[in-house]
């Protein structure tokens, strides 16, 4: 399955500055719950704690599924669809 992943709000700094990437997932990755460790293990080069805590994203990260808060889409249990865009946003605090 092909997805688009986006990283913003500083999350991209964990991924060598990549703001947007198309990925082809292995067959076993079918939900957001399995997507997260796949990203951590396949795309992240260092600092996995800055991305995940336990089996979910670390506090302060908002996940979007096709431009909607993942809470509206079932969060970890969301079944990925071909062509989905998943966005990881680090919340900003500066002013």
């Amino acid at each position: 399955m092909k997805l688009t992943l986006e990283f913003t709000g500083g999350m991209e700094l964990l991924f060598q500055g990549t703001k947007k990437v198309s990925v082809t997932l292995p067959e076993k990755v079918t939900t957001v719950k399995t997507l997260l460790p796949w990203i951590r293990d396949s795309l992240l080069k260092s600092k996995p704690d800055m991305f995940m805590q336990g089996d979910t994203v670390r506090p302060g990260v908002l996940v979007l599924i096709n431009d909607a808060d993942w809470e509206l889409e079932g969060q970890l249990s969301y079944e990925l669809q071909e062509g989905d865009t998943i966005v990881f946003i680090s919340t900003l605090h500066g002013g």
Partner: protein, 284 residues
């Protein structure tokens, strides 16, 4: 408390004529603005344009909270201050500038760090709160106080070339804790002093905060209730996404909310100071 105006004065009609021409604002909306009170928390990059546009538009009473003093490195983006006021408290500097623009409004400077002992009493005195602060402890404190006092919280943030904005706790929209129930690990928090910020980005976000607050005061539905605006000033992308509704389990605003006062030690809970001068080194 200030007496509400029942009608606009002749001076008001002249000064605010460009608003009165708008059918969506008109006399009723402008009366809503001049009879409203707003608290701006933080007179920095976001607070500067926010204060300028609130004062210009005629918000009847504007409070500004900031514990910090104006310094030269602020002037790169904090356009309400100037060189002559370097060393002065930011809240005072902001109220001086606002009064120069509009002597018809009341401007009040609170030159201290907002904390548990002061936040709730202060917020109760205002209709709408603008979060122009720069750190998680203050953002959670403000959120809880706004939930307890039942005030809308127009929240903005900026860093590097990016900005984020939403209206919390208004017309069914979630509160900050609904979206972020746990604070971010301190090492993931970057402030503008560490990460830098392109000046106009704070300008765009702070101005949209003023826009949303003024719309609420004028009786017009704000655009970013339950929605998050994300600004990427490098690519020019403005993106609006749908946020969750209120979380049933939210300790602040949920069905079984346990929050009865500002009992949390926000700095300890977040693992960082609200005063960015002593903030721990950020890595992300």
């Amino acid at each position: 408390t200030r007496k509400k105006k029942a009608k606009l004065s002749r001076n008001d009609i002249h000064r605010y004529s460009r608003h009165l021409l708008l059918p969506e604002i008109s006399v009723e909306g402008q009366l809503g603005i001049v009879n409203s009170s707003m608290l701006v928390v933080g007179a920095g990059g976001l607070g500067s344009p926010a204060c300028l546009y609130l004062a210009s538009a005629g918000v009847g009473r504007i409070g500004v909270v900031d514990y910090d003093e104006v310094e030269v490195s602020n002037l790169q983006r904090q356009v309400i201050h100037d060189e002559e006021r370097v060393g002065l408290s930011k809240s005072t500097s902001a109220t001086i500038a606002m009064t120069r623009i509009n002597s018809q409004i009341e401007c009040i400077a609170y030159n201290y760090l907002l904390d548990r002992s002061t936040a709730l009493d202060l917020i109760k005195q205002y209709d709408i709160v603008l979060d122009c602060s720069d750190n998680p402890p203050t953002r959670y404190l403000l959120n809880d106080a706004c939930v307890l006092a039942g005030k809308p919280l127009v929240s903005g943030a900026a860093l590097r070339f990016e900005g984020q904005l939403t209206v919390y706790n208004h017309h069914g929209s979630p509160c900050y804790r609904c979206v972020f129930p746990a604070p971010p690990p301190p090492e993931t928090v970057t402030n503008c002093g560490d990460g830098g910020v392109f000046g106009p980005v704070t300008g765009i976000v702070g101005t949209i905060q003023a826009l949303e607050a003024l719309k609420i005061a004028a009786g017009v539905e704000p655009a970013y209730c339950g929605k998050l605006l994300m600004v990427d000033a490098m690519s020019g992308a403005f993106r609006t996404i749908r946020l969750r509704g209120k979380r049933k389990e939210c300790v602040a605003c949920g069905d079984g909310a346990t929050l009865t006062g500002l009992e949390t030690d926000y700095e300890m809970w977040c693992g960082m100071k609200a005063n960015d001068k002593t903030q721990s080194l950020a890595v992300l």
